[in-house]
Structure formats: structure tokens, C-alpha cells
Subunit: 239 residues, 2 copies
């Protein structure tokens, strides 16, 4: 299931147009983080045309982390990249990647009309995706960016065979594994030199892109639990 997450949207027209685009592309769930306008205003409903139900059933959150709590996978759709916000996918490769997330909760995060997403918000998403656009004027209107993203996923799904194939791990399976990795590094006193969030972010990206299933997560978790145990026992011997 795909959820569109809009962060601090200002324009009622934009929220309405997003709802219409969602319904055009068979996506129902809308999450609003601190909306800066009334998403149930007449203006918003006008732009939504037949998609008013999506607006009425939208969930409102006070923080992005809260909005992403149930997501098995989250992606920030943004064109701004930088040292700590490197792009993982362009949107059409992301659409293909999503084949492993059928029946999982996938959240797509879109930023403010004027300045997009903050670095911290970007970090709370698993992946960064961008929409290719002209160097002359790369900034795409919010509802257009949502439409391109959902269209590309819709288009890609049309080609997909109906069987699901390998199913990516659930958020819980994945989180347990990541925790065991981080705790192994912690045991090694790794985080005096590298901030833990930075390493976690990096490892998370690599493993998310690897499309691990539940079994992979279990194997990796057990591996790092063993690493940690080994290190602990060495430490004890050293004392």
C-alpha cells in the first residue's frame, strides 16, 4: 500500500490536485504533516474533483517521524542533493525496485512548495529519489511531482507479472536486524569516531537497496549477534 506524505504544504490547490492525481493512479492514503492550509476547504475540494474522499480520510500528523511509523519503506522525493543527501534512485528505477514491496507499506515523502525537505526530514526516510528534469528550471510543482511519481509506479506495475516473487522483509524484521548490527558496532566502541546516526543511515541505505527478505534479515541479525558476542567475550578476557 502506498501512502503519499506531504510535509507542511501551503497551497490548498496543491493538496486538492494531489488527491486527484492519487485517485487517477489508484493510490488512496494521504498523510499530512503540519499542513499550512485547510485541506478540507472548498478550494482544495474543487481541485480534488472526484477525489474528495481522499482528503476527508487524510491523516494529519505533527511530525514526519510519526507519519512514517507504520512504513516498511519510506522514500523522500527531492531534487536537492548534497553531501549527506545522496540520491539512491531516479524515480523509474525506484518504481522497479518497489516490485519487492507489494503488500508492504510504502511511504512517499514530498516537501514544502518553497524549500522542500530539511536534512533531518530527509534522514528520517530510508531512501532519496529524484525526478529527472531540466537544468534550466528543475523545480517541479508539488502536485506535478506527486503525479509523475505515482504515474511512474502505476506504469511499471502494468508490466509486472501478477505473482509477487520474493517479498521484502517487514519493517519489524528489518529493524531487529539493523539493531543487532548497530549494537555490534556499539560494543566495538565504534561511535567515538563516527556518529552512530551517520553509520546507521549508510548501512540502512545499502541494505534497503539490497531488497532483503525476512530470511536474509534473520541471517544477518544472527551474524551480528555472534560478532557482538565474540567481542564481548574478548573484552572480558582482556580485563
Amino acid at each position: 500500500m502506498i501512502t503519499v506524505v506531504l510535509v507542511e504544504t501551503e497551497g490548498e490547490e496543491n493538496i486538492g490536485a494531489v488527491a486527484r492525481a492519487m485517485m487517477n493512479m489508484d493510490v488512496d492514503c494521504l498523510a499530512l504533516v503540519n499542513p499550512r492550509c485547510d485541506h478540507l476547504s472548498k478550494n482544495a475540494l474543487n481541485y480534488a474533483v472526484h477525489a474528495s474522499e481522499i482528503l476527508e480520510q487524510a491523516k494529519v500528523f505533527t511530525s514526519l517521524r510519526e507519519a512514517l511509523e507504520d512504513a516498511d519503506l519510506s522514500a523522500a522525493i527531492t531534487r536537492r542533493t548534497g553531501q549527506w543527501r545522496k540520491r539512491d534512485f531516479i524515480i523509474e528505477d525506484f518504481s522497479n525496485f518497489l516490485a519487492g514491496y507489494k503488500d508492504r507499506n510504502v511511504s512517499l515523502v514530498f516537501g514544502r512548495e518553497k524549500y522542500g525537505l530539511t536534512n533531518e526530514e530527509i534522514r528520517s526516510a530510508d531512501l532519496i529519489c529524484s525526478i529527472p528534469s531540466s537544468d534550466k528550471f528543475p523545480s517541479i510543482n508539488l502536485s506535478q511531482a506527486v503525479m509523475i511519481t505515482l504515474y511512474d509506479i502505476y506504469r511499471t506495475n502494468l508490466h509486472k507479472p501478477s505473482h509477487t516473487g520474493k517479498l521484502t522483509a517487514s519493517r519489524e524484521q528489518y529493524a531487529i536486524m539493523l539493531e543487532s548490527i548497530m549494537s555490534a558496532f556499539d560494543e566495538m566502541d565504534f561511535f567515538r569516531t563516527v556518529p552512530s546516526w551517520r553509520l546507521k543511515n549508510y548501512i540502512n541505505k545499502i541494505l534497503i537497496r539490497a531488497g532483503l527478505d525476512g530470511n536474509d534479515c534473520l541471517i544477518i541479525k544472527n551474524l551480528f549477534t555472534r560478532v557482538r558476542g565474540k567481542f564481548q567475550s574478548l573484552l572480558r578476557q582482556g580485563r
Copy 2:
């Protein structure tokens, strides 16, 4: 070169948003057929953001045929199909097809917000393309439809090698060939049973999709010129 052709657009916001989408996707030429609003209004310019030049340089026409005069290839983007308006492509296959039209004039025709394009307007375009969308609410906002179309072409171009390969015939080469075909059928007194526009429309679609180059056009033209000559001499003998 791609031209976006808008037929009798009502919304200034839509025309402005189309201009922005065009600039986002590196398309400059806008043609307006009988616009129902002021495309240089403050509202339109606001929605265009940095793409005001596209609006200022837009060409205005009083008929679609006139707007398509210089086009080597024209496609109506529409979701309504019917007996005489059968779809030739979905948009992503059309994007691939366009590889043969590099350095040619390609016009993409979009209809009115409320009821799209008339049958006659559809017939004046070479091809019909549609954007896949949900059965529940298939009607996509005009500027969103333009954006999806241009995005899909932009995305596809990114994968294309820089050499052009086979170049599709020019409008003139193609028209001469089509004329020779029609004139052969005319000689055969074919049009007492089938209206000529219907056959022409059908043959045009097939040959356009075949992606003929200049040489192909010459060969086919000569073939039908011979057919016509043969038929003429038979008629003379019969008298």
C-alpha cells in the same frame, strides 16, 4: 522539436502550469488553438513561475489543422476512444517510438478541460495516444496530462544513445507517398464504397507506426504510381 498544442483551454492556471511543466522537461514551443482565456494574464504568468517566456512566445491559431501544418508527426493525447478513435499507443510506447523523430517537428495535441477533443480534431492528428490511469477516476487534469507525457518522453530520451540512427521521413516525403497511394485507390474507383478520409486515416496510421524513412517513402510511392499506371492502361484497353 516538440510542440505542445492546447485546444480551447479555459483555465489560465492550466496554461501557466503547462508552461512550467514544459520548461521542467526542456520543451519550449507552445501552440494555442482558440484559447478561451488570457494566456498572458497575471494568473497564468504566476503559475508559469520562470516559464513566462514560453507563454509570451506561444503561437495562437484559429484551427487545429492550421496549428499542425508544420508537424512531421502529430499525436492526440486522449483517453476517450471509440470506433473511429482507436488508440495507437500508450504513452510510454509512444516515447520509444519518438526516437525515429529526432530533429523532426512533433506536435502533441491536448483537448479541452471538460470534453477533450472532438472526433474531427482527433482525425487531424496522425496518432492517438493515451495515458494509463485508474478506472475509478481516469480523467487527468490538463496540465498533469501534459506533464506525464513530457516526463515520459524526457525519461526515455535519457536512455537513448546520442547517435540518431534511422531518421523518419519528413512530412513532405511522407505526404507525396500517401498521395500516390490514395490516387491509386481513386483510380480503382475505390471510394464509391469506402469514404476516402476513412481509408486515408487508416493507411496513414499504419504507415506512421511503421516509422518509414525517406527511402521507404520513395519506394512505396513508386510502387503505387506503378499500380495506378497499370490500372489506367487496363482501363484504356477496356474501352
